[in-house]
């Protein structure tokens, strides 16, 4: 990633072009977050595309004190709820070969375990999936994740606790990488 094209204007302004480039840099994470919501990779990318279009149309809504990544995660989640969830392809649609296309077993987790975890996550209620995606996968703090989901921290942590319990339950009988 390069920052040579980021042009702070004085100390208080940035160009729209610079913001766009920042969003480009965040695309991998936005895609990943969308993948925790939409099981299907194409649906997930559709969610990201809709979210980007929405975000670019309201760059002026970026609020001081909010991280651009958190702001975008929130837009991705809303795009999922509003636009794609209803028409999302259901069920286990990943071909294993598609899943293993980019990353071999030697560098990442086994394909089988990846599938097991994604299946388990897909069975959780949507609001629990988002909590898991933001905190466990994206590494957001409770505070950030609660802000993205527009819920109190206590609600977030109880969703997380329920999600974890369910995941432990579903994954305990599979031979995962966990020891």
């Amino acid at each position: 990633m390069t920052f040579s094209n980021v042009v702070p204007v004085g100390r208080t302004c940035v160009t729209e072009e610079a913001l766009r480039e920042q969003i480009v840099g965040l695309l991998p994470r936005l895609r990943r977050f969308a993948r925790t919501l939409a099981r299907n990779a194409h649906d997930a990318d559709d969610v990201v595309q809709i979210a980007i279009e929405r975000a670019l149309a309201r760059l002026d809504q970026l609020r001081p004190g909010s991280e651009i990544s958190s702001w975008l995660f929130g837009i991705v989640r809303n795009a999922w709820i509003d636009e794609v969830r209803g028409r999302a392809r259901q069920g286990r649609v990943f071909a294993v070969e598609e899943l293993g296309e980019h990353v071999g077993e030697d560098s990442m987790g086994s394909v089988a375990d990846t599938l097991a975890v994604q299946d388990a996550l897909a069975r959780l209620p949507e609001e629990q999936r988002a909590a898991v995606g933001l905190v466990l996968v994206e590494g957001l703090s409770y505070k950030e994740a609660a802000r993205v989901m527009e819920i109190p921290i206590g609600t977030l942590t109880s969703r997380l606790a329920r999600a974890r319990e369910a995941l432990q339950e579903m994954l305990s009988d599979t031979t995962g990488a966990a020891s």
Partner: protein, 252 residues
């Protein structure tokens, strides 16, 4: 006192303040059952994260990049969006790279140690993360000054230095495992990991570059180095001497 499951989760998620963290770690030491519950939560977190890790490694579809750059629409390059002063500071540009790149230490590391429980570069002991396997060996044996002669080494050692307590610390980058880079400090128990982040450049970038100021080490790691370092990094001779001495902490 037995910590609640919620508290253990908060511990795993890095959400506890110093005092609560110390309490949980004391409880883990005192009660193997609590340590096992924490390990179980850590393993789950790592496993879930791992299941999605490959997504960030994939090439981003062109349509998303084009949509973001507005390439299908007129670009208003000099449209300036005012942000308030505080905001500007909050968004410090260098943070972008490290934010995208660096992750919660536990999350990234557990990526490694969960997958390679026995032979991986990271192990968890007593609630702390330590180098193990090839990484531990490289930290103990490998010299930055001579590693260029060992082309196949999975670990690149960067700078070595003494921290403020006299312990030796070394930065490293892993060639595999998503090009992680980190800082490990020697204690009686081994090489304890102080920080880790995804490297912004491939670990193949060349050993010499890791030794330079302004190196491609992630900023989070450089910050950790700056926080810990006492004096200057070791030169080649001091590095060799420290290695020969088994990285024993210097008397202050």
């Amino acid at each position: 006192m037995t910590p609640s499951e919620e508290k253990l989760m908060a511990y795993v998620d890095g959400e506890l303040d110093e005092q609560a963290r110390v309490e949980v770690e004391a409880a883990m030491r005192a009660d193997p059952d609590i340590a096992a519950r924490v390990a179980r939560q850590q393993a789950l977190r790592a496993r879930v994260r791992l299941a999605f890790e490959r997504v960030v490694e994939e090439p981003v579809p062109d349509r998303l990049v084009a949509a973001t750059r507005g390439e299908s629409a007129p670009v208003r390059a000099n449209n300036v969006i005012p942000l308030r002063r505080k905001e500007s500071r909050k968004w410090s540009w260098p943070e972008w790279s490290s934010m995208a790149a660096s992750l919660a230490v536990g999350a990234v590391l557990s990526l490694l140690f969960v997958r390679h429980t026995d032979v991986g570069p990271i192990a968890s002991r007593g609630g702390h993360l330590f180098a193990s396997g090839a990484l531990a060996q490289a930290l103990s044996d490998q010299l930055a000054s001579t590693q260029a002669n060992v082309p196949a080494t999975p670990v690149k050692i960067g700078v070595s230095f003494r921290d403020k307590s006299g312990n030796y610390c070394r930065t490293f980058a892993l060639r595999e495992a998503g090009s992680l880079a980190g800082l490990a400090c020697r204690s009686g128990a081994g090489w304890q990991l102080d920080a880790v982040a995804r490297s912004e450049e491939s670990a193949d970038a060349g050993a010499a570059r890791y030794r330079q100021a302004g190196s491609p080490l992630p900023k989070a790691i450089l910050q950790s180095v700056e926080d810990r370092i006492a004096g200057e990094p070791l030169d080649a001779r001091a590095e060799a001497a420290a290695q020969a001495g088994g990285w024993k902490a210097a008397a202050q």
